[in-house]
Symmetry: C2
Subunit: 191 residues, 2 copies
Protein backbone atom coordinates (compact mmCIF):
# COMPACT_ATOMS: atom_id res chain seq x y z
CA UNK A 1 0.00 0.00 0.00
CA UNK A 2 1.60 3.23 -1.15
CA UNK A 3 1.48 6.43 0.88
CA UNK A 4 -0.06 9.56 -0.55
CA UNK A 5 0.73 12.47 1.68
CA UNK A 6 -1.06 14.97 -0.52
CA UNK A 7 -4.19 12.87 -0.30
CA UNK A 8 -4.16 12.65 3.49
CA UNK A 9 -3.59 16.37 3.69
CA UNK A 10 -6.50 16.94 1.34
CA UNK A 11 -8.72 14.56 3.30
CA UNK A 12 -8.00 16.45 6.48
CA UNK A 13 -8.72 19.72 4.76
CA UNK A 14 -12.09 18.68 3.35
CA UNK A 15 -13.04 17.03 6.63
CA UNK A 16 -12.06 20.29 8.31
CA UNK A 17 -14.28 22.20 5.90
CA UNK A 18 -17.26 20.02 6.79
CA UNK A 19 -16.69 19.94 10.52
CA UNK A 20 -15.75 23.59 10.99
CA UNK A 21 -18.61 24.71 8.75
CA UNK A 22 -21.05 22.68 10.82
CA UNK A 23 -19.75 23.35 14.32
CA UNK A 24 -17.43 26.35 14.13
CA UNK A 25 -13.93 26.51 15.55
CA UNK A 26 -14.86 26.10 19.22
CA UNK A 27 -17.51 23.48 18.51
CA UNK A 28 -15.55 21.28 16.10
CA UNK A 29 -13.70 18.30 17.54
CA UNK A 30 -10.30 17.15 16.38
CA UNK A 31 -11.40 13.55 16.93
CA UNK A 32 -14.38 14.05 14.65
CA UNK A 33 -12.23 15.66 11.97
CA UNK A 34 -9.83 12.73 12.03
CA UNK A 35 -12.68 10.25 11.85
CA UNK A 36 -14.35 12.23 9.06
CA UNK A 37 -11.09 12.26 7.14
CA UNK A 38 -10.48 8.58 7.79
CA UNK A 39 -7.02 9.22 9.22
CA UNK A 40 -5.57 9.42 12.69
CA UNK A 41 -6.17 12.74 14.39
CA UNK A 42 -2.48 13.06 15.12
CA UNK A 43 -2.03 13.81 11.41
CA UNK A 44 -3.64 17.21 12.01
CA UNK A 45 -0.65 18.28 14.07
CA UNK A 46 1.93 16.96 11.61
CA UNK A 47 0.28 18.75 8.68
CA UNK A 48 -1.26 21.88 10.17
CA UNK A 49 0.42 22.43 13.53
CA UNK A 50 -2.70 22.54 15.65
CA UNK A 51 -6.46 23.04 15.57
CA UNK A 52 -6.22 26.73 14.74
CA UNK A 53 -3.73 26.04 11.97
CA UNK A 54 -6.18 23.68 10.33
CA UNK A 55 -8.98 26.19 10.79
CA UNK A 56 -6.99 28.89 9.07
CA UNK A 57 -5.99 26.54 6.27
CA UNK A 58 -9.64 25.63 5.79
CA UNK A 59 -10.71 29.26 5.65
CA UNK A 60 -7.88 30.22 3.32
CA UNK A 61 -8.78 27.38 0.96
CA UNK A 62 -12.48 28.18 0.85
CA UNK A 63 -13.24 31.84 1.35
CA UNK A 64 -11.75 33.09 -1.88
CA UNK A 65 -14.24 30.85 -3.69
CA UNK A 66 -17.17 33.06 -2.78
CA UNK A 67 -16.28 35.84 -5.22
CA UNK A 68 -13.54 34.36 -7.37
CA UNK A 69 -14.44 34.63 -11.06
CA UNK A 70 -17.64 36.51 -10.34
CA UNK A 71 -18.48 39.92 -11.79
CA UNK A 72 -21.36 42.19 -12.75
CA UNK A 73 -21.40 41.48 -16.49
CA UNK A 74 -22.95 44.02 -18.81
CA UNK A 75 -24.37 47.29 -17.62
CA UNK A 76 -27.35 48.59 -15.71
CA UNK A 77 -29.09 47.42 -12.52
CA UNK A 78 -29.84 43.97 -13.97
CA UNK A 79 -26.11 43.26 -14.04
CA UNK A 80 -26.02 43.72 -10.28
CA UNK A 81 -29.05 41.48 -9.84
CA UNK A 82 -27.48 38.80 -11.98
CA UNK A 83 -24.30 38.99 -9.93
CA UNK A 84 -26.33 38.40 -6.78
CA UNK A 85 -28.11 35.47 -8.43
CA UNK A 86 -24.84 33.86 -9.44
CA UNK A 87 -23.48 34.32 -5.95
CA UNK A 88 -26.64 32.83 -4.49
CA UNK A 89 -26.33 29.76 -6.72
CA UNK A 90 -22.72 29.35 -5.72
CA UNK A 91 -23.68 29.40 -2.04
CA UNK A 92 -26.35 26.80 -2.60
CA UNK A 93 -23.85 24.59 -4.38
CA UNK A 94 -21.31 25.03 -1.57
CA UNK A 95 -23.28 25.67 1.62
CA UNK A 96 -20.19 25.25 3.79
CA UNK A 97 -18.71 28.40 2.31
CA UNK A 98 -21.06 31.01 3.77
CA UNK A 99 -21.02 29.33 7.14
CA UNK A 100 -17.22 29.38 7.24
CA UNK A 101 -17.40 33.06 6.39
CA UNK A 102 -19.71 33.63 9.33
CA UNK A 103 -17.62 31.61 11.78
CA UNK A 104 -14.52 33.51 10.71
CA UNK A 105 -16.10 36.83 11.60
CA UNK A 106 -17.51 35.63 14.90
CA UNK A 107 -14.54 33.65 16.15
CA UNK A 108 -11.42 35.30 14.74
CA UNK A 109 -9.83 38.67 15.39
CA UNK A 110 -8.26 38.93 11.95
CA UNK A 111 -9.46 37.93 8.51
CA UNK A 112 -7.56 34.99 7.02
CA UNK A 113 -5.63 35.49 3.79
CA UNK A 114 -6.73 39.08 3.61
CA UNK A 115 -4.07 40.06 1.09
CA UNK A 116 -5.36 37.50 -1.38
CA UNK A 117 -9.01 38.28 -0.79
CA UNK A 118 -8.97 42.05 -1.06
CA UNK A 119 -8.04 42.22 -4.77
CA UNK A 120 -10.81 39.76 -5.61
CA UNK A 121 -13.32 41.87 -3.71
CA UNK A 122 -12.01 45.05 -5.30
CA UNK A 123 -12.37 43.50 -8.75
CA UNK A 124 -15.99 42.56 -8.21
CA UNK A 125 -16.70 45.98 -6.71
CA UNK A 126 -15.12 47.59 -9.77
CA UNK A 127 -17.38 45.57 -12.05
CA UNK A 128 -20.37 46.91 -10.12
CA UNK A 129 -18.96 50.38 -10.45
CA UNK A 130 -18.64 50.20 -14.19
CA UNK A 131 -21.99 48.46 -14.67
CA UNK A 132 -23.78 51.21 -12.77
CA UNK A 133 -21.50 54.16 -13.35
CA UNK A 134 -21.02 54.64 -9.62
CA UNK A 135 -17.87 55.54 -7.73
CA UNK A 136 -15.57 53.13 -5.92
CA UNK A 137 -16.95 53.77 -2.46
CA UNK A 138 -20.61 53.37 -3.40
CA UNK A 139 -19.92 50.22 -5.42
CA UNK A 140 -17.93 48.71 -2.56
CA UNK A 141 -20.68 49.35 -0.02
CA UNK A 142 -23.22 47.90 -2.43
CA UNK A 143 -21.12 44.76 -2.87
CA UNK A 144 -20.92 44.36 0.90
CA UNK A 145 -24.70 44.59 1.23
CA UNK A 146 -25.25 42.18 -1.62
CA UNK A 147 -22.88 39.59 -0.18
CA UNK A 148 -24.52 39.65 3.23
CA UNK A 149 -28.00 39.40 1.74
CA UNK A 150 -26.89 36.39 -0.29
CA UNK A 151 -25.01 34.50 2.40
CA UNK A 152 -27.62 35.16 5.07
CA UNK A 153 -29.89 32.63 3.41
CA UNK A 154 -27.39 30.03 4.59
CA UNK A 155 -25.94 31.66 7.67
CA UNK A 156 -29.10 32.91 9.38
CA UNK A 157 -31.72 30.19 8.92
CA UNK A 158 -33.27 30.81 12.35
CA UNK A 159 -33.83 34.43 11.43
CA UNK A 160 -35.66 33.29 8.32
CA UNK A 161 -37.76 31.00 10.52
CA UNK A 162 -38.78 34.00 12.58
CA UNK A 163 -39.26 36.62 9.86
CA UNK A 164 -40.30 34.68 6.78
CA UNK A 165 -41.16 31.10 7.80
CA UNK A 166 -41.54 28.60 5.02
CA UNK A 167 -39.68 30.64 2.43
CA UNK A 168 -38.34 28.42 -0.35
CA UNK A 169 -34.86 28.73 -1.78
CA UNK A 170 -36.29 29.78 -5.13
CA UNK A 171 -38.48 32.46 -3.55
CA UNK A 172 -35.61 33.80 -1.53
CA UNK A 173 -33.34 33.80 -4.57
CA UNK A 174 -35.89 35.87 -6.49
CA UNK A 175 -36.15 38.32 -3.62
CA UNK A 176 -32.37 38.59 -3.30
CA UNK A 177 -32.00 39.27 -7.02
CA UNK A 178 -34.77 41.87 -6.83
CA UNK A 179 -33.17 43.62 -3.86
CA UNK A 180 -29.72 43.60 -5.45
CA UNK A 181 -31.26 45.02 -8.62
CA UNK A 182 -32.89 47.73 -6.55
CA UNK A 183 -29.54 48.62 -5.02
CA UNK A 184 -28.08 48.66 -8.54
CA UNK A 185 -30.85 50.99 -9.66
CA UNK A 186 -30.09 53.43 -6.87
CA UNK A 187 -26.41 53.38 -7.85
CA UNK A 188 -27.31 54.07 -11.47
CA UNK A 189 -29.57 56.98 -10.59
CA UNK A 190 -27.10 58.56 -8.18
CA UNK A 191 -24.30 58.48 -10.69
Amino acid sequence: MAWDTDLTRERLLTAGVRQFAKHGFAGARIDAIGADAGVNKERVYRYFGNKEGLFQAVLASQLAGLLDGLAAHGSGPAAVGNLAGAMFDRCEAQPDLPRLLAWESLELDHAVGIDARRPVCAGVAASIGSATGSDHEAATQALLSIIVVVVSWTTLPRLTDAVAPGTSGAARRAAVVAHATAIGTSLTLDA
Copy 2:
Protein backbone atom coordinates in the same frame (compact mmCIF):
# COMPACT_ATOMS: atom_id res chain seq x y z
CA MET B 1 -26.20 40.67 53.98
CA ALA B 2 -29.63 39.97 52.47
CA TRP B 3 -30.16 37.57 49.59
CA ASP B 4 -31.63 38.80 46.34
CA THR B 5 -32.44 35.85 44.12
CA ASP B 6 -33.81 38.02 41.34
CA LEU B 7 -30.55 39.93 41.29
CA THR B 8 -28.34 36.85 41.07
CA ARG B 9 -30.55 35.49 38.33
CA GLU B 10 -30.26 38.78 36.49
CA ARG B 11 -26.49 38.87 37.00
CA LEU B 12 -26.17 35.41 35.48
CA LEU B 13 -28.37 36.41 32.59
CA THR B 14 -26.42 39.56 31.74
CA ALA B 15 -23.12 37.74 32.17
CA GLY B 16 -24.52 35.08 29.87
CA VAL B 17 -25.41 37.74 27.32
CA ARG B 18 -21.85 39.07 27.35
CA GLN B 19 -20.09 35.71 27.30
CA PHE B 20 -22.36 33.98 24.78
CA ALA B 21 -22.32 37.03 22.51
CA LYS B 22 -18.54 37.06 22.58
CA HIS B 23 -17.77 33.34 22.35
CA GLY B 24 -20.96 31.60 21.22
CA PHE B 25 -22.52 28.59 22.88
CA ALA B 26 -19.68 26.15 22.29
CA GLY B 27 -16.99 28.71 23.03
CA ALA B 28 -18.46 30.21 26.19
CA ARG B 29 -17.31 28.77 29.52
CA ILE B 30 -19.57 28.26 32.51
CA ASP B 31 -16.71 29.20 34.80
CA ALA B 32 -16.27 32.50 32.98
CA ILE B 33 -19.98 33.24 33.16
CA GLY B 34 -20.00 32.65 36.89
CA ALA B 35 -16.95 34.84 37.35
CA ASP B 36 -18.42 37.55 35.11
CA ALA B 37 -21.64 37.46 37.12
CA GLY B 38 -19.76 37.48 40.42
CA VAL B 39 -21.53 34.37 41.67
CA ASN B 40 -20.66 30.70 41.93
CA LYS B 41 -21.08 28.81 38.68
CA GLU B 42 -23.26 26.25 40.42
CA ARG B 43 -25.97 28.89 40.46
CA VAL B 44 -26.34 28.44 36.70
CA TYR B 45 -27.69 24.95 37.25
CA ARG B 46 -30.06 25.95 40.03
CA TYR B 47 -31.53 28.78 37.99
CA PHE B 48 -31.33 27.61 34.39
CA GLY B 49 -30.84 23.85 34.51
CA ASN B 50 -27.70 23.66 32.42
CA LYS B 51 -25.58 25.53 29.91
CA GLU B 52 -28.11 25.23 27.12
CA GLY B 53 -30.89 26.40 29.42
CA LEU B 54 -28.98 29.58 30.14
CA PHE B 55 -28.22 30.05 26.46
CA GLN B 56 -31.87 29.78 25.55
CA ALA B 57 -32.86 32.13 28.37
CA VAL B 58 -30.27 34.62 27.12
CA LEU B 59 -31.55 34.43 23.56
CA ALA B 60 -35.18 34.65 24.63
CA SER B 61 -34.44 37.72 26.71
CA GLN B 62 -32.51 39.54 24.00
CA LEU B 63 -33.64 38.64 20.51
CA ALA B 64 -37.07 40.21 20.70
CA GLY B 65 -35.31 43.53 21.33
CA LEU B 66 -34.06 43.77 17.77
CA LEU B 67 -37.43 44.63 16.28
CA ASP B 68 -39.64 45.36 19.28
CA GLY B 69 -41.25 48.77 18.98
CA LEU B 70 -39.76 49.37 15.54
CA ALA B 71 -41.80 50.17 12.43
CA ALA B 72 -41.65 51.93 9.07
CA HIS B 73 -43.33 55.17 10.07
CA GLY B 74 -44.95 57.27 7.38
CA SER B 75 -45.07 56.26 3.75
CA GLY B 76 -42.77 55.91 0.80
CA PRO B 77 -39.25 54.48 0.43
CA ALA B 78 -37.79 56.89 3.00
CA ALA B 79 -39.87 55.18 5.68
CA VAL B 80 -38.05 51.94 4.91
CA GLY B 81 -34.69 53.69 5.01
CA ASN B 82 -35.50 55.27 8.36
CA LEU B 83 -36.52 51.89 9.73
CA ALA B 84 -33.14 50.51 8.73
CA GLY B 85 -31.39 53.48 10.31
CA ALA B 86 -33.23 53.02 13.58
CA MET B 87 -32.40 49.31 13.56
CA PHE B 88 -28.75 50.12 12.86
CA ASP B 89 -28.62 52.52 15.81
CA ARG B 90 -30.18 49.93 18.05
CA CYS B 91 -27.52 47.41 17.06
CA GLU B 92 -24.76 49.87 17.75
CA ALA B 93 -26.24 50.57 21.19
CA GLN B 94 -26.53 46.83 21.92
CA PRO B 95 -23.79 45.09 19.93
CA ASP B 96 -24.37 41.80 21.75
CA LEU B 97 -27.79 41.50 20.17
CA PRO B 98 -26.81 40.88 16.54
CA ARG B 99 -24.07 38.48 17.55
CA LEU B 100 -26.50 36.44 19.63
CA LEU B 101 -28.77 36.35 16.60
CA ALA B 102 -25.93 34.99 14.50
CA TRP B 103 -24.87 32.36 17.05
CA GLU B 104 -28.46 31.20 17.35
CA SER B 105 -28.66 30.51 13.64
CA LEU B 106 -25.28 28.80 13.46
CA GLU B 107 -25.47 26.70 16.60
CA LEU B 108 -29.14 25.86 17.15
CA ASP B 109 -31.55 23.71 15.21
CA HIS B 110 -34.61 25.66 16.26
CA ALA B 111 -35.24 29.35 16.82
CA VAL B 112 -35.78 30.28 20.46
CA GLY B 113 -39.10 31.82 21.51
CA ILE B 114 -40.34 31.66 17.96
CA ASP B 115 -43.99 32.12 18.94
CA ALA B 116 -43.21 35.41 20.60
CA ARG B 117 -40.93 36.65 17.85
CA ARG B 118 -43.05 35.93 14.81
CA PRO B 119 -45.82 38.45 15.59
CA VAL B 120 -43.22 41.18 16.17
CA CYS B 121 -41.62 40.41 12.81
CA ALA B 122 -45.01 40.28 11.12
CA GLY B 123 -45.91 43.66 12.58
CA VAL B 124 -42.77 45.32 11.25
CA ALA B 125 -43.26 43.63 7.89
CA ALA B 126 -46.82 44.93 7.79
CA SER B 127 -45.58 48.45 8.44
CA ILE B 128 -43.27 48.11 5.46
CA GLY B 129 -46.18 46.79 3.43
CA SER B 130 -48.38 49.77 4.19
CA ALA B 131 -45.57 52.29 3.80
CA THR B 132 -44.78 51.01 0.32
CA GLY B 133 -48.11 49.61 -0.76
CA SER B 134 -46.59 46.17 -1.30
CA ASP B 135 -48.03 42.78 -0.49
CA HIS B 136 -47.24 40.69 2.57
CA GLU B 137 -44.74 38.40 0.86
CA ALA B 138 -42.70 41.17 -0.74
CA ALA B 139 -42.64 43.23 2.45
CA THR B 140 -41.54 40.19 4.48
CA GLN B 141 -38.67 39.39 2.14
CA ALA B 142 -37.65 43.02 2.18
CA LEU B 143 -37.61 43.05 5.97
CA LEU B 144 -35.43 39.96 5.98
CA SER B 145 -32.92 41.60 3.65
CA ILE B 146 -32.91 44.81 5.63
CA ILE B 147 -32.29 43.00 8.93
CA VAL B 148 -29.34 41.04 7.56
CA VAL B 149 -27.79 44.13 6.00
CA VAL B 150 -28.10 45.95 9.31
CA VAL B 151 -26.82 43.22 11.62
CA SER B 152 -23.98 42.22 9.31
CA TRP B 153 -22.13 45.36 10.31
CA THR B 154 -21.73 43.71 13.72
CA THR B 155 -21.81 40.04 12.83
CA LEU B 156 -19.45 39.98 9.83
CA PRO B 157 -16.61 42.37 10.68
CA ARG B 158 -14.01 40.22 8.90
CA LEU B 159 -16.02 40.40 5.71
CA THR B 160 -16.00 44.16 5.98
CA ASP B 161 -12.23 44.01 6.45
CA ALA B 162 -11.96 42.13 3.17
CA VAL B 163 -14.53 43.97 1.07
CA ALA B 164 -14.58 47.50 2.42
CA PRO B 165 -11.62 47.97 4.76
CA GLY B 166 -11.62 51.06 6.92
CA THR B 167 -15.33 51.73 6.58
CA SER B 168 -16.61 53.85 9.48
CA GLY B 169 -19.82 53.15 11.31
CA ALA B 170 -21.31 56.38 10.03
CA ALA B 171 -20.40 55.58 6.42
CA ARG B 172 -21.83 52.12 6.70
CA ARG B 173 -24.98 53.45 8.32
CA ALA B 174 -25.50 55.83 5.41
CA ALA B 175 -25.00 53.01 2.92
CA VAL B 176 -27.39 50.73 4.77
CA VAL B 177 -30.06 53.43 4.86
CA ALA B 178 -29.52 54.09 1.14
CA HIS B 179 -29.80 50.40 0.27
CA ALA B 180 -32.90 49.93 2.39
CA THR B 181 -34.41 52.97 0.74
CA ALA B 182 -33.61 51.47 -2.65
CA ILE B 183 -35.39 48.26 -1.68
CA GLY B 184 -38.30 50.36 -0.48
CA THR B 185 -38.36 52.16 -3.81
CA SER B 186 -38.55 48.89 -5.71
CA LEU B 187 -41.46 47.81 -3.50
CA THR B 188 -43.25 51.08 -4.16
CA LEU B 189 -42.81 50.83 -7.92
CA ASP B 190 -43.87 47.18 -8.10
CA ALA B 191 -47.08 47.83 -6.18
